[in-house]
Amino acid sequence: MDFNDYDTEGYYDELFEAQARPRPGTSILIDRLESLPSGDILRRQKAAEAALFNMGVTFTVYSDETGIEKIFPFDIVPRIVEPGDWKQIEDGLKQRIYALNLFIDDVYHDQKIIKDGIIPEEILYSGKCFQEQCRGINPPKGIWCHITGTDLVRDKDGKFYVLEDNLRTPSGVSYVLENRQVLKRTFPLVFEASKVRPVDDYPERLLSTLQHLTPDNTSQPTVALLTPGIYNSAYFEHSFLAQQMGIELVEGSDLVVSDGYVFMRTTKGFQKVDVIYRRIDDTFLDPTAFNPDSLLGVPGIIDVYKAGRVALANAPGTGIADDKVIYAYVPKIIKYYTGEDAILPNVPTYVCWDEKEKEHVLGNLDKYVVKAANESGGYGMLVGPHAGPKEREEFAEKIKANPRNYIAQPTVSLSRVPVIVDDHFEGRHVDLRPYVLYGEDIYVMPGGLTRVALRKGSLVVNSSQGGGSKDTWVLETVPGN
């Protein structure tokens, strides 16, 4: 298999500058791929899929009574990020997360940013994500957003933009780690020659981030990961991370609040828990503080948290910073708290809450992607250019009925990467989700989850809608330099 007929079709391609001209950092990989007999590449693709399946890196598709297990589709051609691009991403994300943390702390305390007129008060309270219960809370070490997964896209011009921030319970990092294991087996020689920055220390760093939050006077903290249970779609990740960190994986029913502390039920009695990496949403955490119908959480845990006797990561209330309307204000938030301009720009965004911007959006629905402010996973969206007139009309009604809940963005021509299609390579659109840890300092994992829209021409990378993944190689140096 070779790239002689590979056509970038005018899109920004992550591996090629132009037809048959690999980027400097990718030439080792391209040479190697072209030197392999085509049957060999397909054999390696199959072997990689089999390895993921045997490792149980699967999710369950319930089409009938029995669940069918599938691996998250995976393409063995890695996406390569050169050091210069990575530097900008890393600096940009550190700046962004630092500012967002100050923002969250401010909105639950003095709300200076509102008093100074940077963000309209109404926007804060009209969303679903502001948690009244979190007002006045001082989380350990002043950190709210310990783990973030920020979605980036690259446009035609080759520039990176932030598409959205995920500060609640971002998932996918386990695929990054498992994909890397598989790719090291698949292309050991190219991997070695390419000087790829490692991602394998992520669990260790995550553990340090969590231990950093330990309430005072506890020298041997018990850290636990709280999962909704084995039927949750991200259960594999919960279990994987707990295993890699060597911490307890607990469900709500394993925990109990007593005497002002949180305990877990063990075969030898009740044992105190100090730090909880919770992978369930705010509103399910504590039926006495939030949703009384929830059976997932732990009654009374918020009171223990407020008293500083247990740490929760991410802190309840961080969701306010991934409301998509707040997102539109992030460049201003960065400027306000740091005095700097945002290193990574947002995709241009119209906020329908604003009367003038709403009218503009309603008049140009065929040009924009419209998103609900509080949905994730590609739900509650209108992709204007691909939608029919009837669909657009229905969506217009939704916007008019609840303008606060919608934002609109122009469609970005996402950059592309070659994938294996039968016996040749074709370009497919990708995004990138790097993971950021905020502990003693801010750490950006060099790499991240590259999601691929595997359907030809599609821009939707969500796994629920035909997306797959690739390993992401961040290079230490460009070969030859």
């Binding site: 149980g56 029995t66 044992q271």
Partner: protein, 333 residues
């Protein structure tokens, strides 16, 4: 260790052992049929009687206990909670909920066994070479036990796995022996005949005990066979051996001195174990083998219940009572 986790490890191990033993039940019958003279009718219904699921079977298949129906019910029927496929599915679900505790190798093995079984089911619904198939199930289980022993630290979790496995195995060995009562109920004229010997040999083989029996007693003698499977203290599938080792694991978990008890599980298992320590095969047979085994199964169930109450049941917390951790907690205030 979390109570929920201990419970899942215990059941993961029990269910895999159960799958293996159902394969053994079926295998013993397949062997018998091949070895039997033509006039002996194939008997399949007793297999269901010994698993205790006869009512459930009749609801679904009527009184049509043919070879195909029985084999399907015990192997691939998802509606039957005691079929091989249900047992392996449950073993895997339990393993999935404790993946962070068991080794990756254990998880991969249980995962492979499960998908092998699905593959076998998918082909035609009929097994072309059932002996190979059931032998394979047994080997998968042995492999899992070997991997468990060599990749998992022999701490609390491992002891819960061993406890579950041995209690399940003791129960199933007693049921395998009970097959003789149901299937092989000897006609007076057959006792000691070649047919009788073949049947007892088949029984030993189903517990992988034939060769070890031969080394110890050489001649097939029903009394000795029963003694070997029930009371031998060296053969790893004998009831006595299973209970001795189960008791050992139980005491490792709690740290209680051997020969004493601090909870109901230790008391009940200890007493049952002592009964077998001093049991005599002649007394058992004169009192009725089937009655003895039936009574044993009831007592073993009570041991299982006591293990649940002692370690897994989620008792409500009492204010100020945190067992051994209470002291640490008070020290911090």
């Amino acid at each position: 260790m979390l109570s929920r986790v201990a419970n899942s490890i215990y059941w993961m191990s029990r269910y895999f052992e159960r799958a293996e033993n159902i394969a053994r039940f079926i295998d013993v019958n397949l062997h018998l049929i091949l070895d039997s003279p033509v006039e002996l009718d194939e008997q399949w219904e007793p297999l269901i009687k010994i698993t205790g699921d006869i009512e459930h079977f009749e609801e679904r298949y009527g009184d049509d206990a043919t070879k195909d129906n029985v084999i399907h019910f015990l192997t691939f029927d998802r509606e039957n909670p005691n079929s091989i496929i249900s047992a392996l599915t449950n073993a895997r679900e339990n393993a999935r909920s404790v993946r962070e505790i068991i080794s990756s190798e254990m998880w991969e093995q249980i995962n492979k066994s499960y998908f092998n079984l699905l593959g076998a089911e998918g082909e035609s619904g009929r097994l072309d070479s059932p002996h190979d198939f059931y032998t394979n199930i047994k080997m998968q289980s042995h492999l899992f036990i070997g991997i468990t022993d060599t990749t998992m630290s022999h701490g609390e979790g491992w002891h819960f796995a061993r406890l579950g496995r041995l209690i399940e195995r003791a129960d199933k060995t007693s049921r395998i022996l009970d097959v003789k009562y149901f299937i092989l109920l000897p006609r007076v004229e057959d006792v000691g005949s070649p047919i009788d010997n073949i049947e007892w040999a088949a029984l030993l083989k189903s517990a992988s005990a034939f060769e070890m029996y031969r080394k110890k007693y050489r001649k097939i003698d029903p009394r000795k066979v029963a003694e070997f499977l029930m009371l031998d203290s060296f053969f790893p599938r004998s009831i006595h051996y299973c209970l001795m080792k189960a008791e050992e694991s139980l005491h490792k978990i709690t740290g209680t001195e051997p020969g004493t008890y601090r909870n109901e599980a230790e008391r009940k298992l200890g007493r049952l174990c002592s009964e077998l320590d001093y049991a005599n095969i002649d007394e058992i047979i004169s009192g009725g083998l089937h009655e003895y085994l039936d009574n044993f199964q009831t007592k073993l169930n009570l041991v299982g219940d006591a293990i649940f109450d002692t370690f897994f049941a989620l008792t409500p917390i009492v204010e100020g009572q945190h067992n051994e951790f209470n002291g640490t907690l008070k020290g911090q205030e």
